[in-house]
């Protein structure tokens, strides 16, 4: 163990933590949707990739940097998510899992191949002024873009937490998640709340997509990888738990970065899947999941 190795390890951990925040925000969207309406969004990675393409298009055609277009994308995704839930997904709530799976698989195929048809298979990235900036803290170097993305992700997650904790709609959604029948009995419009929740989940993943684009360029082929990654994160953290999704994101971000350093970069997802298998077997409710979810 030389000190050089320790420094590069610490460097990998920091990098993993920063990327992990963005992963966490992406997984938060999946977790919120599952926690409330018990639907696994198999199109999650595809939505993420669409978010990345939107941020790229905003930069390319409107000259907006992803940080500036992020609120617009979040609003757009909220609307799209709301409409998608209202039209296609709503009839499938409570149906057998394989039917929900097939529905979302079809949606995923349409989304990702829509991107492929419009933007082509080539990678698209954004140029930013802060691209080569970095901050130094002792021996550690932080990429400016990664740090900004991580801070934005944490800020959005905090906003979401405040929304669920203090607003009337947020509380109603939690009520509907905890006890669907009870929520109906006290007169909550559960169908509207579900659509709202799907909108919130979509806004999360759209925002995460905009942030991710500042770190890596987008191709349609990232989508399946992100869907799997989001599953791994929420299962490790605890499906339906907000803290779990964020912590799971950090854990997977760090484990990927460290595995890339200690083993081989191509083995990094093997560590994540190994972790997923272990958690499913030893603690299926996830590391941070309570007994009843959200």
């Amino acid at each position: 163990m030389t000190s050089d190795f320790l420094i590069s390890l610490a460097q990998a951990v920091t990098k993993g933590l920063l990327t992990g925040m963005v992963y966490g925000l992406m997984a938060l969207g999946l977790s919120v949707i599952f926690g409330v309406m018990r639907v696994v969004n198999f199109a999650h990675g595809e939505m993420m990739v669409v978010g990345m393409y939107c941020a790229w298009a905003a930069s390319e055609y409107l000259g907006l940097s992803p940080m500036l277009s992020l609120p617009l994308i979040a609003v757009l995704f909220f609307g799209l998510g709301y409409a998608l839930q209202r039209t296609l997904i709503s009839p499938f709530i409570g149906r057998p899992e394989h039917q929900q799976f097939l529905l979302l698989l079809a949606i995923a195929m349409l989304l990702v191949n829509g991107c492929l048809a419009i933007a082509g298979p080539d990678a698209h990235g954004v140029q930013m002024d802060s691209q080569f900036d970095s901050y130094e803290l002792g021996p550690l170097v932080f990429d400016a873009v990664r740090l900004h993305a991580a801070i934005a992700a944490v800020a959005i997650a905090a906003l979401l937490w405040l929304f669920f904790k203090y607003t009337r709609t947020g509380k109603s959604i939690r009520a509907a998640a905890d006890n669907n029948m009870g929520a109906l009995v006290v007169g909550l419009d559960v169908r509207r709340l579900y659509a709202f929740t799907f909108g919130v989940g979509a806004a999360c993943v759209g925002a995460a997509g905009a942030l991710m684009l500042t770190i890596i360029p987008v191709t349609p082929f990232l989508s399946a990888e992100y869907t799997l990654l989001a599953f791994v994160i929420v299962i490790v953290g605890g499906l339906g738990s907000m803290t779990g999704a964020l912590m799971g994101g950090l854990l997977i971000g760090v484990s990927e970065a460290v595995a890339g350093l200690v083993l081989q970069p191509s083995l990094k997802s093997m560590v994540s899947f190994g972790l997923l298998i272990l958690v499913l077997l030893l603690r299926p409710q996830g590391l941070f999941g309570g007994k009843s979810g959200t």
Binding site: A106, G120, A224, F273
Partner: protein, 332 residues
Amino acid sequence: MRLVSRLVEGAAPRSLWGLGVLLVLLLAAPALLGKYGLSVLILILYFAYVGQAWNILMGFAGQLSLGHALYAGLGGYIAAGLYFHYGIGPWAGVFAGVAAAALAGAVVGYLGFRFSLAGVYFALLTIAFGEFTRLAFDHWDWAGGSGGLFLKVDAKVDPLKLRGGPLLFYYVILALTVGIFILCRALLESRLGRYWLAIREDPEAAQAIGVPVLRCKMIAIVISAGLTALAGVWNAFYYNNLFPETAFSMGRSIEITLAPIIGGLGTLFGPIVGAVVLTGLGEVFTDASDYLHIAGIKQIFYGLALLVIVMFRPAGLWPWIADRLGFGERRR
């Protein structure tokens, strides 16, 4: 004879006649169809076969696996690897491949069912094992790593080594498909089959009336995995190449599930009808996209078709077709 009479018991005579005509047509198909037609029919039979194998676990016993590429990939890789490295022919290698896949199924099943993982959680466990194995094979030199494993294409027809043209592979996959159809019918009529349906409908009630739930689920996944591996061996020798990226991919797993879900889960004809519809649509969309020259357009059509089917026939096409034709196979 008793076995045969038990198998056909309760089936309407006209369904049996229909099946007989279908079988004769399939046997004669290579003489009637051109090269292209035969290749499409081979694809249909392949998807009908793997769909049937997957259906045993999901349609009968109610356990959603989204990682069946693991078993097909293991079977294919082991039989092809034994042939490639040691010249051991596939008729011997198939036993090793099927045994390995059945063992893998037993491991996934034991870990999953032991800890009572159900529904989505079990599905994600199967995905995780599939992906884990894919990455392991990417780094395993014996299996060719990420560069893939290639079998020598031999012009000489040698059925003993499963070397030959489409005709040989057509009759092999036809025999497999007929065999698994009869096997599934026999399983459904057996005590084990009834246990599976009880578990699928209500695992707790089944447990309460004394159905050995864990053992029955284990048998289901082992049979399903072993039979899927057979198709994997066939696939490896038909295409003569194997890559971890495709053989173990989640896309391959999903492909396996589509025909039975579209056709009708838990029915005997569902996987066959689903395979015909999906392969047919795939061919039509390929032709259409050749005119349009837009990347991804084929998958967009495909996605739209899946969307329409799941929106309007969520229980699958076969129960609906059967009603129209008056065959009325119950979804058990």
